[in-house]
């Protein structure tokens, strides 16, 4: 998750769970005591045992995704933490001991808030810090459900007033969020124009094939979109929504395609270049430009709204209408896995399996 400005975003309530060593070692946790390069500051530490005290539950983690935001938090460029902290924001665990709560042993849970510290084998928490998720989907999908699929779900639900038959245009269409946008849109009868970066012929062909396999249509490179062959999407209505993860000229090019009154929502700035908006487009085409940050949505919404969304997404997963690429890796290989997750071209998401 690059933000395009290089600015450090402080003061927001994304604080990682404290870590303090004590008593009997039962599990392990990836901990950082200072901000910096993950390979330097992360340490795999033995985690102290915690007893299930009044109102608390014991959770054994099943899996936790490696997301760019996790890396940026360790680097100290995204949110603020009290140090030392356990890394990781997303993941799924199973209730081992429900204590006196309403939860049941075997329930699958995810943290209600970001910054929880999910890269550890177990923890205790109060039940209101946890949200129950369906346990009849693959573990990897449950571990990764709260960031990419939920972001795509909200983009398609909250922006541009979309209904069946409408069109969305997105850049970085092959990103994890892009894959979710394509498939969730399809389930709602919304068409997507998928813009990807150009690459070598063979690689491009393979990518288009992969994208077609999960249902992507109207796949076009940045260059084709900017070029004169602009009648590629003849027959499709003009997009009501543009989803921008890139910024710079890519953002301008998708904004240009928007219909009168259209919205562009920005979720990232991979090009590290700002968005450039011609005044006339704003005034006469009535375009609106805004941002979306999943973290803010989570902090501002009820767990009921969140549960409803997650159940809808889980249903798509069970119905094979939402397919994503996950690879599980052991916690011990974290150096190698984090390095891989930071590489430019990532076809699948890495998930720590505990």
């Amino acid at each position: 998750f690059s933000v395009g400005t290089g600015q450090r975003f402080l003061g927001f309530a994304v604080s990682s769970r404290h870590f303090s060593a004590s008593s009997l070692a039962l599990g392990k946790a990836l901990v950082y005591s200072e901000y910096g390069a993950p390979e330097r500051v992360l340490e795999l530490k033995e985690q102290p045992s915690e007893s299930v005290s009044s109102g608390k539950v014991l959770v054994k983690m099943l899996g936790a995704t490696i997301n760019p935001a996790d890396i940026n938090m360790i680097q100290g460029t995204y949110g603020s933490s009290s140090l030392p902290a356990v890394a990781g924001n997303e993941g799924v665990g199973v209730i081992e001991d429900p204590g006196t709560s309403k939860l049941k042993k075997g329930d699958w849970v995810i943290p209600t808030k970001p910054g929880f510290g999910t890269w550890r084998t177990e923890f205790t928490a109060s039940s209101d810090e946890l949200l129950v998720v369906p346990n009849d989907i693959p573990m990897e999908y449950a571990a990764g459900i709260s960031s990419n699929p939920c972001t795509a779900f909200r983009l398609l639900s909250d922006f541009g007033n979309l209904k069946e038959g409408d069109v969305v245009i997105q850049n970085a269409a092959n990103s994890a969020v892009g894959q979710c946008v394509t498939q969730i849109a399809k389930s709602r009868g919304i068409k997507v124009i998928n813009v990807i970066r150009s690459r070598e012929d063979k690689e491009l062909k393979a990518l288009k094939k992969k994208m077609s396999d999960y249902g992507a249509e109207n796949i076009v490179t940045e260059e084709e979109l900017a070029g004169p062959s602009s009648d590629t999407f003849k027959g499709l209505p003009k997009p009501k929504l543009a989803i921008n993860s890139v910024g710079g000229s890519s953002a301008t090019n998708i904004a240009k395609r928007l219909d009168q009154g259209g919205h562009m929502v920005t979720i990232g700035g991979m090009s590290r270049k700002p968005i450039l908006v011609p005044t006339g487009a704003m005034i006469f085409k009535d375009l609106t430009f805004e941002g979306f940050w999943m973290t803010r949505w989570i902090l501002n919404s009820s767990s009921n709204d969140r549960m409803e969304m997650i159940n809808e997404i889980a249903k798509l997963i069970k119905d094979k209408k939402l397919k994503l690429w996950y690879e599980t890796v052991p916690l011990e290989s974290y150096q190698e896995s984090i390095k891989r997750s930071m590489e430019q071209r990532k076809d699948c998401k890495l998930v720590f399996k505990f």
Copy 2:
């Protein structure tokens, strides 16, 4: 009204009233038969007499403003007209013969829609093309009420969810709209940070004096705003709304001042440079960027909503809470008056008086 892109905006329903010469000459009209420089294409023609046929009323024009949009329409860069057309979009007339309508002789009226052709001494129209305005305010204010004061009124009513005690920041603060924003905001207990271009000391002092006279506070030059002395507005909350008529770095500088969740609304692009938005600000500060075009609002709103707004504005005028600078000029001097209205620094609005 510069739009920053130089683009021609066609296809919008801003069509000027046709002009066809016939019968007895009773009045005069400024007519253009082709697009181009106003001094070249405008002709002062004798206007044919029209009888008040069924359902029509006869209106004698009292005054009509010269606005940048009028010029741009004649140049063919703003809206489209059927040619030949009578120029002018805004103005006030008096009902001379109400025919069978509910209007009364002596009522003051303005056109309900833009592109009416107001630079003429008289016309007939159906009563639903006209909106009654208070006739106990100065003629110049009534002539100019529908563009600048209404724009300011809508900006402060429809964007940024403003309430008493909130802060707005605007560039081009000494423009006609800017003057209205300052005064209407004051009447609502909203504070304004007024950003103006720097100029020679003496001239700057005179401008600040003039602005203070109509109640402007927190006056700052672009350079002061961009500079390090950024604690000028200590004690004021951060702005919830930025009003941008300039674009380029000026837009960036006022956007930077916005509070979390703030809105920037663009109504012009005098610098002819686009708006540059850092991705991070959009995502993490939750900023929204949009445009406002008074013409669209008028076309999308009921005459009831419009009447209500105009009555509120007229009350501010009567209460001396909204003061503007008008100068009346005769229709015959149109060449000179249009030239003056196109000059960069215009302290007062010119109004044709009939």
